[in-house]
Amino acid sequence: MKWLRPADPVARVERAAWAFLGAIAVVLLLLSIASSANYTSIVVAQENVYVVPSFRVAFTGIDSNGSLEADGSVTVTADFDIVNPSDRFLHATQVTYCGWIEDLPAETGLNTSRVASDVVLVQGASSRYFFRMICPPPSMPRNPIPARGNASVVVAYSMDRRSDPPSFAALQNITDYAAHVLGSATAAPWNHWALVFLSIDGVPPATSPTAGSYILKIHLIARQVGTYLV
């Protein structure tokens, strides 16, 4: 053993091994810190992104009496202002919208033909009836939302006699009532509901069998606005 001097092969390899372990430890520490920062930024995006919605209902084909004509239509324009306070870049991937109009003739008993299909919203002692007017398939905008910024996603939904005759007939009846009783076809209240999905850039969907349940859909941010009536 007296031959084993500091310059012997074992000591040399041992020094190299310690240096290698040190380098790997530094790399792993950096990767861990980067992973932690990446994970935190995703969770911050998940928690802090919010949507400011605004809905506009516009009619075409309103006659001088305020009634909706047969060739008229209704268009709901949904404007979602997506505010992204996080450091992640987002994309709006899917917007689902449904709009209900308050069935005033059904509520007052003037036309009870839709009562069975209406959604009843009980508020205290009173009941409000809503007719589902527009509920198209989800739209797929690809609007980018910058990090620490905001962007608008505007989606317009139209309905006329050709696209949905039964709903259009109900709309005519309800807007007629609104025009004659409330003074304007647009006076009937609407209930808007929307579900906006945003994807976080740079986060692949987790498909690993060992992936935690918590993160299976963490690459997606879902924001619901309004009340879905059932």
Partner: protein, 150 residues
């Protein structure tokens, strides 16, 4: 006094190596459970990457271990380190006040990463043995070589 110093040095080395092995295993478990959060990120954790990482780190760790007894101690001592590293990584958003419940996240990473913790133990034993045997072989070879005459 020198005996005490030697023992303390041995303990410090074992703790340092256990912490290192724990860091590797903890990072690997986090990567397996949160593959799309980790750097580098992927949809699915690469088993090959984990195997290579665990083996490549356990061999030099075994080499610098002076004996089998210390090697076994540091492998088992690395378990709490690995759980601590994986847990701290999984609850890291909570440190800035966002995220889900810490207990759920810690449970998730330990439950779903259990296989990786076991794999890390296994690889530490295998890689450590390889490193240790390499060290022994090198010592035997160095001992057999005649001294250089200057």
């Amino acid at each position: 006094m020198s005996d005490l110093r030697r023992v303390l040095h041995r303990i410090a080395r074992s703790v340092a190596l256990a912490a290192f092995l724990g860091l590797v295993a903890g990072y690997s478990a986090f990567y397996a459970v949160y593959p799309n959060m980790t750097v580098p990120s992927a949809g699915e954790a690469s088993f090959g990457y984990l195997l290579i990482l665990l083996f490549v780190t356990s061999v030099p760790a075994g080499f610098v271990t002076s004996n089998v007894q210390d090697g076994v101690v540091q492998v088992f001592l690395s378990i709490p380190f690995s759980i601590a590293v994986a847990s701290v990584l999984s609850v890291s958003p909570i440190f800035i006040g966002v995220g889900a419940q810490a207990d759920v996240l810690v449970y998730d990473v330990i439950h779903n990463g259990f296989f990786i913790f076991l794999l890390a133990l296994f690889m530490d034993v295998i890689g450590g043995s390889v490193g240790l045997s390499f060290r022994e072989r090198l010592i035997v070879r160095a001992s057999a070589r005649p001294p250089r005459v200057r």
